[in-house]
Every structure is written in structure tokens, then in C-alpha cells.
Symmetry: D2
Subunit: 312 residues, 4 copies
């Protein structure tokens, strides 16, 4: 454990602010575009129970694609390896919303973290749960230890109103037999899911089981403390490392070397197996849809702590 | 360190042999197709100096794409981050010899481990070395600690005679200004390089610097013991994890979770940072060009040692 | 005019029957798959008023993609060259239902005769007509001179129930701003349109304006006898020649050399400018979705009459 | 036959000059880029023996891709329909130098008029002729009735020096077994062929057999007056109509409606079957590589003569 983590976070906070203005807030969903750009928060949760935070680490933000991590884990717990009959686990080498590979690969998305793959995951969950939105919220509330956790209904609606490309993917997969529920219903669930809001400190908490061989420490002593098996936890982290940052996964691995999941809300969560988790949030995005300050902050943290060196 | 590594290797050796016949020896290069299929070797080199081996671990085999790891490291040492202006570091999401992305991405290969990317690396090295083949051989001899290390001239020739697709890629990149030497010359170097032969025990030795924060222990005490910087070592490993197994990188990460490099000669080398390296060889390949028994052996080793759990 | 057209048609009829069994009835729409395969009809309508028919030339069949010809002409009459802002006029070089080019060309379909292009045309007409299905039926009834002309409701429903891929295309174009009405509504219209039924003799009659510099002879003496301008007629024929036979347009041009439109119902209509029209129907299709006997019959007719030689 | 063809050509000449400056002279081959842009020539050769010309109709220019028409006809005469085993006859729906379809369609080019297809044709001819360059020159001299016809050695060399992309295609096809001679040798032939020079009046003359059911009138009374069979002539014209203008074939068919072949030297030749041929030249090109003034002149000629209306 680095001695002076709070001081390091302060240093990174200061350095990161110099990058304000280098990216652009996502505006493809109108309601998302209204978020004030110059915000930055960062939270670290350690396996030993310590937590540290700087900046806007307690401001809730829209998780967006970060929720794909949670829905994937839920689906993996529910259906196990059968899931791989409907979605691959290879990097896509293409934009997160590309439909081209669906045509050349018969409606099977490359991995669960591109849009098409996440839609299949939501389709699987929609089949299992009468009210997926509340089931998912329940799981997230438990993981984040916050009974008030909710989704932003206005952003969910804004997202649903402009979800044409995701609808296209859902129908395309349906034409290949790889979509079981009505696309309209799954998109309703998907857009609510994406609009879930957490703060950095909550997000770091909610993903701790991935740093901890699958154990959910918020449940210490309870019978289902093992939220995910150790083997599956390792596999989820592998998938986050190869596919967690859209079409910049290779660059993230190269610069940061940790399993991550990013979202167009400007959040990134990174897993340091055996050490802890890091959540960072800053709404300005680069051309590939990842947070500019967020990626910078993680890269600096890895340099300053050597955490990347332990894993790779 | 697992207590009984020799026993584990014996167990894996026995289990792996049950898979003989499930793959096919590469035959796109005629001379490669003559290798007897039912062979299996495995060697482990640990940071503490221990080495263990089973089966045909001392039989030399054709490294093929595994040499892309060594040429990439040499180029990174020589030209540093400038290298990234000529090659990307993202998984390709396509076959190792696909030319499609070169057209849509203006002659810049996705990463140094697909064929197009390795050709650019060899082009870079060809510019630097009057006799690249001997320069490379020198580096490999030093790393493998074997002054007799050589390439198989017959396989090199067989490879050169059928290198039409690689020639196509070289000329295509040249049309985009991303190839500086005559393609014919670079292909000569490339085919000799691919025909280099090592045994598993030599390969495990030669890659130890990647498990060891860049230090080459065969040089213990000599002034240039630091073969590669610790930062660059971490980055190379990250790239091996995301791009080291052709279009099965995601699947390898999921099942094995270690940086690897595979070759159509049937070899695979895996890095366990801080612990050691594992080289395995069995000529029968699966549909994506990776060794069937090799992948199985690494997956079992990770399960039995927990090495995968330490890194991810 | 060939002297013995009736005898030629009899000869072709006899020769064509030898090909029964070489193709397969379309079955992607369940209701279409029930059509008995061994049927063949052919009708010729000449500019001089003569008509000739053999075989099942008076049996109604499902027009399917042949209706794209009529909807395109209607849209061209309504909106003129503005239409080309929403659809191209180049051959696609890809399957009729491919979605790949929509992604690389920003949601603008290559031409009005591939599915995506025909959907845009139906979207344009949906905006103009409160009840497009009846407006289209009215136009077709007038051209075919049959007040009883109708669509097959069962086939329309079967088509609508399995229209997932067309829905995907509609939503994809909507995401690019190239679709103005709700996809569900346009697809309702599109599927009814495709299910329109005509016999060969009706189809030959209904397309006579294309052989006749745009004049609709069924309206001889009426004020709007000029159904389409002579210039636009020539242009429509050019488009039929380059894009009328899915991804076999080049092969059709090479073998037959006439503007054609084919449909998966097994119908083909060919235009001989200045001479007349030929409609042929036989439900068995080749791998590209065109009628085996229909293409053969047209090729023979061109060889025996020299009609192809007059135009090219 | 239009009464006042000379007057029409004068009118078109005048109108066309207003478009000077709207296009750009091809500069991808350095030597081609030196051609003065503001030139325009047009020649019409009629089946009745009349010829008419305006502007720079007697200035030789670089035929470039127009030679693909001649080599294709030579190959068709030599090997007949076997040729279609090595090249398709469908529009490509992609840029003339795209390599993507070669990968997805196993090294078989879409048609003989895109670069890859023309390279296969030149490969076929290279196999047949010890000195293809002189064999081709002989044929062109005979057709153009000019024993002095030659290629521009400087342009040929400039072209060969920058032929990397064509080399890539040749090697790619060789890797699929669809290239029999050394790419270097075929490219030598190909670049000399492209550098052949003719004037508009020669080009109109040299293609007259295509307007004349295959008969070469310059050979009137000689035994081999039938240069190409009538059937094959019709087929070549069909192919020119669907594939003769790169990826603007559909637009050319729509606007002009005649079989054409264009070249990046700024030339276009159009066939009016049964009537005659039109050659036009103006070096400024549009974005798709076709002559701006040339396309305009042909479109106007068709409007003013109605020639397009006779054929479609």
C-alpha cells in the first residue's frame, strides 16, 4: 500500500485540472450534454477497508456503459457459460456502436461491453426478470450499500428517444435469432439501466468484489458474501482489460494496465486485484468516448503507486 | 511458488496427451507441415532461478510469430514511442493476416503482433541494421544464452516462396507511405526471423526479462542487466495480453489471464510477472492458429497454481 | 418485330421446363414457401398493342421486390430529383439486405432497389400519403388495368412478422436522420406493398410506359397519358439495368442486356425500349434470389429475337 | 442521325468551357500531373463513315484505364468464357483501387475494369504473349489505323515507380492462386499499357467495332473484318454500361445511359450501338476520377441528339 495515498490523490487532482477543456461532454443524448464540464472526482477503496476521495467524488453521475459491467456479472451468475453461445469475448477492433461485425459474424456480438453485446445481456436478463429495472437496482443498491440509489428518469427518456441505432442492432440480432424479447421492451430496460447514477465513492465500493476474489465485503459475515466465484472474478477482470474501454482497450492496457470499464458519462472504474478499486469521474471525453481527465488520473496513479507493475 | 511444480507439470503433460489429434499442424508453409504432430514440451523458468521441464522441452521448434515479441522489443528499445506513429496498439478484431483494416485505417496496422504490424517493425529494424538477420540472432542468442541458436534456412526459404500475402501487405503500406525499405528485402529478413528455432527451455529463458521488470538475469552483475525499462516491460506485457494470441486474445485472456505470444509453429510463451515464464510447444493448431495442447496446458497450469489469480 | 413470337414463346416454354428443380422457392417468409415450385408463365406486351402469353401467364404471383420499381417511379414523380439526397443510384456490390454500406456511407442507401433504398422510398411515400397502401394500389390498378388488383394479406402479415432485418435497416437510417416516419408504420406499408399480386400478363401491361417513352397506352387519348417524362423513363431504365437484379445486375446485363426488375416471388420484368415488355414468372430461385427459369427464358428470348442487340 | 451534328458539337464545346476549373488534374502519378488542365476535345465517329471533331480532338492524351477496355476485349477473344473463372462481371460498389472485396471474395476481382480485374486480364495476356506490350500496341495501331501509335515511356516509368497499391493487389491475388506471372513483370506491362496515348479522333475510331456489332470497318473487305462476335460485342457493351465508370457507373448510366469507359487521363469513350462512338477528353477530374467536362459533354450530347433514348 502506498504510504501517502491521500497526498498522491491531491497531487493527481491538481495535475488533472490542467486538462480541463481538452475534451467534450457527450451530447448525443441531449440530457447528458447539460452536465457542467469542469468537474473531477476520484475515489479509492482498498481491500483493507480504507477509502480515500478527492474532488467531486461524492457527486452522482450517469454511469452509462459502466453499468454493462454490472449487468454482465449478473447474467454470468444467472446463466453461466451458456452465455457465451450468444456473445463473444474478443475485442471488436471497431467502434462501440458498429453494426458491421454483426453482419459478418451472424448476429453474435464480439463481447458484452460493446453496445450490441450489452443489448444481448439485457435481453437475457429481461427473460429472467419480470421487472429487470428493479432487480438491477436492487443488486446495485446492495453492492453500493445505498438504498436510495436510482436512475435518472429524464436521462433515461432522453436516451430512449434517440436509441435508433441500438434499436437497429437489436432488430438485426433478432433477424439472426439472437434476441428473444421485443427490442422495444429491452431498450426500455437498457436505457433505464444506463441512466443509473452513482458517485465515485459508491462506484469504487460497488466494484470491490472484483478486487477481492469475488467477495462482497459489505456483506462480511453474511452467508452469500461470495458474490462471484474467484475463477469468474479473474475472468471478468480479464475481459475488462481486453474489452473495457471501447476501441481504446489496447491503449488503456498499454498506459494503465488495469482492468477498467469506462462510460460516456465520464466515469471510469479500475480494478487493482488484491489491492482495491479506483473510480474517477470527469465529464469531458476524448474522440473515442473515454474521459480525458479520468484516463490521465489513472495513468498517473499507476505511475505513482506502481500498481500496474504488480499485475503485469 | 507452488510446492510441487514438477508434479504439476507431469500431471499436465499426461492430461495434455489426451488431446493429440484434435488440431492440425500448420501446412500453409510446406516445410512446416512436415513436423511430426504428436509432440509436447513445456518449460517453466522462475525468477528465483529454478527451471523445470517436461516432455519435448528441449526439442527446437520454429518460433514463427513468437519472434514478433522479440523484434517488437528491439524496435521499442531503438526508437521508443516514435514507433507508435507507424503502428497502433489496439486489438484488431480480425484475422492475423487481414488486409481490410489497412485500407480503412490508412495503412497503419492495428498492433505489432498481427502480420502487417510485424512487417512494419521489421521495416524499422531493417533501416537500422545493415544485417538485421545477424543482429536479431545476436540478441536472441544472448537472451537464450545459446551461441548456436540459428534459423532454419529451409523453412525460411519455404516461407519466402509463399509470402505473397505478406508482400501484398508490405506494398499496400508502402502505397500509404508506411514502409520505407523495398518489400522484397524486408520480407527476406521477416522470413528468416520467423524461421528461428528454440526449444521450450530456451524460450522460457529468453523471455525472463518480461517477468522480471525488464532485467535480464543471464546478465546478472553485468552493466546492461536492465534489458528493458520496468515501465516498458509492463507495457509490453499489456500488449501481449490484449494482442498476443491473434484473434483469440480475448479468449486467452479469459481462460488464462496472462500475457502470451503464440506462433503457428505450435509454441506459446506466457509471462507471469514477478514469478517467471512458461513456454509450451505442441504442433497441432486450432482453427485460429494457436496450439491446442499449448493453450490447454497453460489453462491447467493457471488453475493448479493460481498464478492467474495473482495478476487479475 | 420477330415474325413468329408465339412460336418462340412456346419453344422457350418447353426448354425452360427442363430446368425445374434447379432452384429453390424462397422460404424466408413462411407463407411464400408454400407456393408450388413447378410453375412457369411468360407474357410479352408490344408497343403496337399485341400481347402474347404462354404457360401460367395468368396466374397471380407475389411481386415482392418488383414493386420497388413502381414505388420508385411514384416517388420520382412526386419529389423529383430531391429524392437523390436520400438515396444513391450506384450498384451496391453487396447482398440486397446488407447493412454494412449503410454504416460506411452514413445511412444513405446505394440505390432504390436494395432493401434499404426501397425502405427510404416507402418512407418518402408514407409522408405524402395518408393511406399509402391504397394510393399505391390505385396506381397499380390503373397501370395494370385491373380494378380487382390486391395484396395478399396473409403474405403481408407473414412478411411483417419476420421483418426484423428490414426494421434494423430502418432504425439504422433513422439514427442517421434518413428516415422520417416511425419504422413500424413504414414497415407495415412496405410489407403490404411487397405482397401485391399480379399475373405475368398484368405485369407486362403495367410496365408498358417504360418501353414507350413514359406514355401509358391504357390511357390513350386521356390527358395524363404521359405517365412519366421521356427523360425520366430513360433514367429509370438505366437504373434498372445497373441495379435491377440485386447483386447479379452485372451478370443480367451481360447475359440479357435489358433493364429488368426481379423479385423473390420468382417474377422478372424486362423492358425493351421502343419494342415492349416481357414478364416471366417461375418460383424457383438461384442463390442470388433470382428466378432460374425466368433468367433463362429472358436470355433465350434475347438470343432468338436479337432484342438485346438493338439496345446495346 | 441528327442533322446538325457539327453545330451541336460546337455548342457543347462552348458550354463545356464554362466548367474549366471545377475539377483537378490527376496527380497521383507525378508525370500525369503536368498536363495543362484547360483542354477539351471531342470526336464523333459514325457507322456511316462520317467523323466530326471539335477542340483538342487531335491532341494525344494518356488513355490510362480506357486501355482496360482493349485488353479485356483481347483477352475475351483469346480465352473466351474461361476468363470468368478468374474475374467477375458485377459492379464493385467500391473505389476502383479497393482491396477489401479481394479479401472477402477470395482473390477474385469483381470485374475487369477495376484495377484488380485489369491486373488479372494483363496477367492472362502476359501468359499468352512473349512481348505483351508490342502485341497490344499492334492491336491498337490496327484499330486506330495509326502505325505510329505509342506509349509515353516517361509516364509509364512514373506510373511503375508508384505502383505500390497495384503491386499489393497483384500479390494478394497471387496468394489466392489467381495470379500466374511474377507481379513485377505484369506491372511492367500494365504500366506501359496505361501510358498508351491516343487522340479523341483515334479513340473514337478504335472503338467503332463496339458500335458496329463487332465489325472493324477499317478492315472493310479484309477476311477478319469481324473483330469481335456480335454476341460478345453486346456483352462488352453491357459490361461497360454497368462497370465502365469506376464507382460512378450508376450515375453515368442514369445521366448518359450509354456504355462508357473512363480514364484518369481525362478521357471518356462512349458507345452508341448502331450509331457510332464518341470520344471526349478534358484533364480535370471529379472526386471519383472521371472527367468533369467529359461527363458534361456526353450528357449534353445525349440530351441534344436523343441517342440515349434509342437505347434505353
Amino acid at each position: 500500500m502506498p504510504r501517502h495515498l491521500p497526498a498522491l490523490l491531491d497531487q493527481i487532482h491538481t495535475e488533472a485540472q490542467a486538462l480541463f477543456g481538452q475534451g467534450r461532454v457527450a451530447d448525443y443524448i441531449p440530457a447528458l450534454g447539460e452536465v457542467p464540464p469542469r468537474q473531477f472526482g476520484m475515489a479509492v477503496a482498498l481491500c483493507n477497508g480504507e477509502t480515500h476521495a478527492v474532488g467531486d467524488a461524492h457527486t452522482p453521475f450517469s454511469l452509462q456503459s459502466i453499468t454493462k459491467l454490472f449487468t454482465f456479472v449478473l447474467a454470468l451468475k444467472l446463466v453461466g457459460d451458456e452465455l457465451w453461445q450468444r456473445v463473444g469475448r474478443e475485442p471488436s477492433g471497431a467502434a462501440f456502436n458498429s453494426i458491421v461485425q454483426l453482419e459478418t459474424e451472424n448476429g453474435i456480438p464480439r463481447n458484452p461491453f460493446i453496445n450490441a453485446g450489452a443489448l444481448v445481456i439485457t435481453d437475457i436478463l429481461t427473460t429472467r426478470y419480470a421487472h429487470l429495472d428493479y432487480a438491477l437496482l436492487g443488486a446495485l443498491r446492495r453492492l453500493a450499500d445505498d438504498p436510495e440509489l436510482h436512475w435518472n428518469a429524464r436521462i433515461a427518456k432522453s436516451e430512449r428517444d434517440t436509441a435508433h441505432r441500438n434499436m437497429a442492432m437489436a432488430y438485426f440480432m433478432k433477424s439472426h435469432g439472437n434476441f428473444h424479447n421485443p427490442p422495444e421492451l429491452v431498450l426500455d430496460n437498457y436505457c433505464r439501466q444506463c441512466a443509473t447514477e452513482m458517485s465515485c465513492s459508491q462506484l469504487a465500493q460497488a466494484t470491490m468484489f472484483l478486487a477481492n476474489k469475488g467477495r462482497d465485503q459489505s456483506l462480511r459475515g453474511e452467508p452469500d458474501e461470495q458474490f462471484l466465484s474467484a475463477d469468474d472474478t479473474r475472468r471478468v477482470n480479464a475481459l475488462l482489460l481486453t474489452c473495457g474501454a471501447y476501441d481504446a482497450a489496447g491503449d488503456f492496457a498499454y498506459r494503465i494496465g488495469l482492468p477498467v470499464k469506462t462510460g460516456v458519462g465520464g466515469g471510469i472504474v479500475a480494478i487493482v486485484p488484491g489491492v482495491g478499486t479506483v473510480a474517477v469521474w470527469a465529464p469531458e471525453l476524448d474522440a473515442k468516448g473515454n474521459s480525458v481527465l479520468g484516463a490521465f488520473a489513472l495513468e498517473r496513479l499507476v505511475q505513482l503507486t506502481g500498481w500496474g507493475h504488480n499485475t503485469l
